[in-house]
Amino acid sequence: MAKMTLDQLRKLREEKKGDMVRREVEGKEIQIIVGMGTCGIAAGAKEAFDAIVQTVDENGIASSVVIRQTGCMGLCHVEPTVEVVMPGMPATIYGRVDAEVARQIVRRHVVEKNLVENHIYDRPAVDIVKK
């Protein structure tokens, strides 16, 4: 396979942009935030991040989803962690998110608006809670 040039990349982007506009849904902003601190990286957050990107793209919702990386969210004991903020759903932090759970978060939480059970966490580790 030959190296892709930046011009080829721009052309691909333009082709895909037209496709994405046609598939646009609701237009509301959905944020998926992946914890990419030391704890997240050690636990496999990059795999979760890749699975989220792929599943968002496959489900045709890229135009309404912002995917961000952040540092440690304070849930080091259940990394990798992923926070989802979207209209119509409570802001939710998921823990122990491997690639399969990451795919479920996109399909069930973001697309179907149902929570993904057994992975919901709402408090950071006790050593960083402010008194």
Binding site: R13, A42, V53
Partner: protein, 184 residues
């Protein structure tokens, strides 16, 4: 504990971003029996006392989480280097940024796998903020040599917070890492 060299590098990049760096340079070279890597930034830098403390797993600067008493990123890296017989240098000073340089023996039994170089470049470029990141990569034996700037990638595909942009950027970065035709 991190699994691959790319994990250690992403951790250092995240430190650079949190240190307020405007420009970060990541370099990974496989040559002369070594995996040589560096992360340089123009962030706030560290004085001698902070450099020494940064090696301690039970110390962190407390800026992000005031009550936290562990900081494992740098201790993980130093531990892995010691275990594998690697070398490292840390240059840093307040106001003039930080430069990490380290190397692992390429064939060491305790050397971590190199990891996903395209994924490293993408994640390193996908943090929030308006910083420049330059990723330089060279592995002559496999015909791999490329340099990619975050600004060029964002100019070509748009913000790296969009799944479509991230997918295209990843395909682009993976194509840079592919060996040249005829070289195994």
């Amino acid at each position: 504990m991190h699994f691959s060299v790319s994990d250690f590098l992403l951790d250092l990049v995240q430190n650079s971003i949190e240190a307020g760096a405007r420009t970060v340079t990541v370099r990974v070279v496989e040559d002369r029996g070594l995996i040589e890597a560096s992360v340089g930034d123009d962030g706030k830098g560290m004085d001698e006392a902070v450099k020494a403390k940064a090696m301690d797993p039970f110390w962190t600067d407390g800026e992000k989480h005031a009550r936290r008493r562990v900081g494992l990123g740098i201790p993980f890296l130093v531990h892995a280097l010691r275990q594998a017989g690697g070398d490292w240098e840390l240059e840093s000073a307040p106001g003039s940024g930080t430069l990490w340089r380290f190397s692992f023996p390429a064939d060491g039994v305790d050397t971590p796998p190199l990891g996903d170089m395209a994924g490293l470049a993408l994640s390193a470029m996908a943090f929030d903020g308006d910083y420049e990141l330059v990723m330089e990569r060279r592995a002559p034996a496999r015909g791999t040599e490329w340099t990619v700037r975050r600004s060029e990638l964002r100019d070509a595909v748009g913000e790296l917070t969009d799944a479509g942009s991230l997918t295209l950027a990843r395909a682009f970065l993976e194509s840079q890492e592919e060996p040249l035709d005829g070289i195994e």
